[in-house]
């Protein structure tokens, strides 16, 4: 299970991306609706002890089992403007991959465990098909039960939202866990496959474990291969069909099957990484370029040797030691505060301890920064006293403090459970790996058949005491140490980091406030910069020219009075006229810089006249079905003018292409030139690249984004997006 993590966070001011849509409350609503539709009927069926394969119970069960997809439809129905969907691309790759990845684990397991008698596989498959009414029945059954009834929910609704918000790894973990949780009641219903396995059994346990690699494979076919929800349905169907057709192969078979699923997920992850590092990767999100992942740490398959892994393990120890104290702080202060609230004074306790919890937040933030290389911005400082009057209101209304409370409680459980699992895996892995050595010191044990063994008993009457078994134990230990343990450490640390980002940093609205503040500053600085530039242009241009005109005229008057040669004076006056005309041109240019008159006739007219005045070959394509508002038009015009000026002045380009398009949300601009490239968001104001920074600042003021691709040597390609922001 390896994954590339893309984190979204407060974008820097020079590249403000559109923030990820808030997905929390729709997700909670989805979960609620899903549980209502599924678990209530499940509970009824469970208490009435009905067989879910017969009569009315079968219909109720089928409806309840469709809970995930039904709730997705409900959610889409409620919010029709919701535009996050996983769309399928037309391709032959994802269908093949989905079928192969779905069927492979079951088929390979069956082949391995029935290698002695391959005909029994086909015989079993035939009997199953006959049992559900022929091939058509089998197809219908495998397609509806599971794929159609669940996938619209899991992969159609939940997955894209989680991925946008949390990245790959967390998505897989959450969907895997949620998926397992949803299945829980099925273990108590008569006639389900889960009941046959039993909850507390090897197969039951493996069922839950297998959902995680499976979720990853699902994520891969639907997102990376761009199969969308349909790929998920196909994969699920393929999986169900193969699972149903292949004969059962017991606990060992289930173990093999789960292992194969992990192998498949690992293979898929490897492939994904290859893909994402290859340059042909097309940005799915329009802002993918501009939101730079701060530190996209990659998990490596053999991670035990990495610093990253050991830092993570160290972090687990640190939080394991810290967690009890934080937990006690939060719980005890809350208990005392709420208990005393009835008597009086309790609220004062909380009004003190809640803001004070920010210190805990700071400690955990620094710990994460130090050991997880996860820098979480601090929440905004406490509101000044004049904003919130009263000690109580100020203390109790401190949202960041309350979030730290939540963090202390949740992270306590995460630290204890994650730490315990991680340490256990470490011990078990190390123990198995070195079993061949230390097992000789164990006392001999007697099996049921009376034989004596020296070694760990791994099943009733079975001991690791033969060389092949020792080797297998060492291999298993190595697998745990090198693959499973680091994976768990990595996953736990990601969860810690994710929890930290949610609870210890600024909240969504606070982040927006910070972003607005940043963009306001950018706007102020930018307009200041523009005024300075205008003043300098006036000083160096028209002012100096008019001084020259005055000087030349004075010179001419003086010469006439002195009685100089009229021809000389005429020459002087002619050159004065030239300067005056140049002044006029300069003033006109400056006025156009303040507001181009052509902009009154629309952006296309203004850009065309701009392009016509450029000293290079330009190609303009503007497609604007709706005329944008004047503010948008003006910013779009200046962006293009600035980029065109850069192309001429700095890039020494000979060709320029300007493309302006429009969608319902805003305006997209692409300006490309064939110049020498190397444009960057420099801070220097003396060179033109400072203009690029000013442009980014101006765009930030309207929540626009800019992404610049300008390798040294060129070409330069700049993509700008200006959202309407509700203004038509």
């Amino acid at each position: 299970m390896s994954s590339e993590l893309i984190r979204r966070e407060l974008p820097p001011t020079d590249a403000i991306g559109t923030s990820a849509p808030s997905t929390r409350s729709p997700l909670a609503r989805f979960a609620l609706v899903c549980l209502l539709i599924s678990w209530v009927p499940f509970a009824v069926l469970g208490f009435s002890d009905a067989d879910v394969n017969r009569g009315v119970a079968a219909i109720v069960f089928a409806l309840a089992a469709s809970g995930p997809s039904l709730s997705a439809f409900v959610m889409w129905r409620i919010n029709r403007r919701d535009r996050i969907r996983s769309r399928a691309s037309a391709s032959a790759v994802w269908p093949i991959a989905a079928v192969a990845l779905g069927a492979a684990p079951s088929v390979l397991t069956a082949l391995a465990s029935h290698a002695a008698d391959p005909t029994s596989i086909s015989a079993h498959a035939a009997s199953v098909v006959a049992g559900v009414g022929g091939p058509l029945g089998a197809a219908a059954y495998t397609l509806i039960s599971g794929p159609l009834s669940e996938e619209f929910g899991w992969r159609g609704y939940l997955q894209p939202r989680l991925r946008l918000r949390l990245g790959h790894m967390a998505t897989v973990l959450i969907i895997g866990a949620g998926w397992g949780l949803w299945h829980l009641p099925l273990f108590f219903l008569n006639g389900t496959g889960q009941q046959t396995m039993g909850l507390v059994s090897v197969q039951g346990l493996l069922f839950f474990v297998s959902l995680f690699p499976l979720s990853y494979t699902f994520l891969f076919v639907s997102e990376s291969l761009r199969g969308g929800v349909w790929a998920a349905i196909l994969l699920h169907a393929s999986w169900n069909l193969a699972d149903a057709l292949m004969p059962p192969s017991g606990n060992l078979g289930a173990l093999l099957q789960t292992t194969l699923m992990f192998v498949a997920a690992a293979g898929v992850a490897w492939r994904w990484r290859q893909q994402s590092t290859s340059p042909t990767r097309g940005g799915k999100m329009p802002t993918a370029d501009s939101s730079v992942p701060l530190k996209a740490q990659r998990y490596r398959l053999v991670a035990i040797a990495t610093k990253h892994h050991w830092r993570g393990f160290g972090y687990q120890w640190m939080v394991l030691l810290l967690a009890p104290f934080g937990f006690v702080y939060a719980v005890v202060s809350f208990a005392i505060g709420s208990a005393l609230a009835l008597v009086g004074g309790g609220l004062f306790v909380l009004a003190t301890t809640v803001p004070a919890a920010r210190a805990w937040g700071a400690v955990h933030r620094s710990l994460q920064r130090l050991m997880l290389i996860e820098s979480i911005p601090a929440p905004p400082p406490r509101k000044p006293r004049r904003v919130h009057r009263g000690y109580l209101r100020r203390g109790l209304g401190d949202a960041p403090g309350w979030r730290v409370y939540g963090y202390l409680v949740v992270s306590f459980f995460l630290s204890v459970v994650g730490g315990a699992i991680s340490i256990a895996l470490f011990v078990v892995g190390l123990g198995l790996f070195t079993h061949w050595y230390w097992s000789r010191f164990l006392p001999a044990q007697q099996a049921h058949d009376g034989s004596w063994h020296v070694g760990v008993q791994y099943a009733p009457g079975r001991f690791i005491d033969t060389p092949p078994l020792q080797l297998a134990a060492a291999a298993a230990g190595l697998l745990v140490l090198v693959v499973i343990w680091p994976a768990i450490v990595h996953a736990t640390c990601r969860m810690h980091a994710s929890l930290g980002r949610t609870c210890l940093g600024p909240s969504g609205s606070e982040q927006r406030v910070l972003a607005v503040e940043a963009s306001r500053w950018a706007t102020v600085e930018n307009s200041d910069r523009r005024l300075r530039r205008l003043e300098r242009d006036l000083h160096d241009g028209p002012q100096a020219q008019l001084v020259t005109v005055a000087l030349k005229l004075g010179d001419a008057v003086d010469r006439l009075e002195r009685g100089d040669d009229p021809a000389t004076v005429a020459g002087l006056l002619k050159s004065t006229r030239t300067v005056a005309q140049d002044t006029l041109v300069g003033v006109r240019g400056l006025a156009r810089g303040i507001h181009p008159p052509a902009l009154d006739f629309g952006l296309d007219a203004a850009v065309c006249s701009l392009a016509a005045g450029l000293q290079l070959h330009s190609e303009v394509r503007i497609d604007l079905p709706d005329r944008p508002g004047p503010a948008i038009e003006s910013i779009a015009y200046y962006s293009i003018a600035e980029l065109a000026a850069n192309a001429v002045k700095h890039a020494k380009a000979t060709r320029l292409s300007i493309v302006v398009g429009q969608d319902t949300d805003g305006l997209s601009i692409r300006v490309e030139d064939d110049g020498r490239g190397g444009a960057a968001f420099d801070d220097s104001t003396s060179t033109g690249s400072g203009g690029l920074r000013g442009l980014a600042g101006r765009l930030a003021g309207v929540d626009g984004t800019i992404s610049v691709m300008s390798p040294a040597g060129g070409p330069t390609r700049v993509q700008i997006y200006i959202p309407n922001g509700g203004r038509a």
């Binding site: 000083h539 160096d540 020219q545 020259t548 000087l551 030349k552 004075g554 010179d555 010469r559």
Partner: protein, 215 residues
């Protein structure tokens, strides 16, 4: 007379050079920034008067003033005419503080009257101090609240300003249409009211007035 010009706007620099050359001046240096001026002076020697624009590249702030101060430190006798687009009093102290002989500060507007301009250059070359009337009135405005100024009559204020600009008694008398005797009386009154030491030469008088105005 040898003239140097440091002005970053080329057309203005050329026009200045042309007007001065036509009137018999030897424009030996015409450059666009302070560094070039420094090099040319090393190369060609110090001109009698160097006209320096305040704002020049690279930072377009006060390169010209700094170049002028540096030039005066190296060559105390060299005439310097600061040439500015705006009235700025903040540099006056540095410029006129220690030795104001042969220092001028004119707004670019003045070039329209070529004769005045030429005479200003000549006065600077003679070691006089030339201040733009606008700069003087700005200095008086800045000094506004200082004790003594408000006791002056309007006429005495005019005389003070003209003194600061570097005019002689005769010239002041012509400007305010008074007899020389009347002017002398006014000047004496100004000096008494402001508590200044009586000075005999025009130049010393300018310095005294400037010192007073700058506090």
């Amino acid at each position: 007379m040898k003239i140097g010009i440091a002005e970053d706007v080329a057309i203005l620099r050329d026009a200045l050079a042309e007007a001065l050359t036509a009137r018999g001046f030897d424009v030996c240096i015409a450059v666009g920034d302070a560094d070039a001026l420094r090099k040319e002076i090393e190369h060609q020697g110090v001109p009698d008067v160097t006209i320096i624009d305040v704002r020049m590249p690279p930072t377009n702030s006060d390169e010209g003033v700094r170049a002028a101060i540096e030039l005066r430190q190296r060559h105390p006798g060299a005439g310097v005419l600061i040439f500015s687009q705006y009235v700025e009093t903040s540099h006056a102290h540095q410029l006129f503080g220690s030795n104001a002989a042969g220092v001028g500060y004119l707004l670019k507007d003045r070039v329209g009257d070529v004769r005045e301009f030429i005479s200003a250059i000549e006065r600077i070359a003679n070691g006089e101090t030339v201040l733009d009337p606008d700069v003087v009135s700005a200095l008086i405005r800045v000094a506004g609240g200082r004790f003594g100024l408000e006791t002056l009559t309007p006429r005495e204020r005019d005389v003070l300003a003209l003194m600061a600009e570097g005019h002689s008694n005769t010239s002041i008398a012509a400007k305010v249409s008074l007899s020389i005797g009347g002017i002398e009386k006014n000047i004496a009154s100004v000096f008494t009211k402001l508590g200044l030491e009586q000075s005999n030469t025009t130049h010393q008088r300018v310095l005294a007035v400037l010192r007073y105005l700058q506090g």
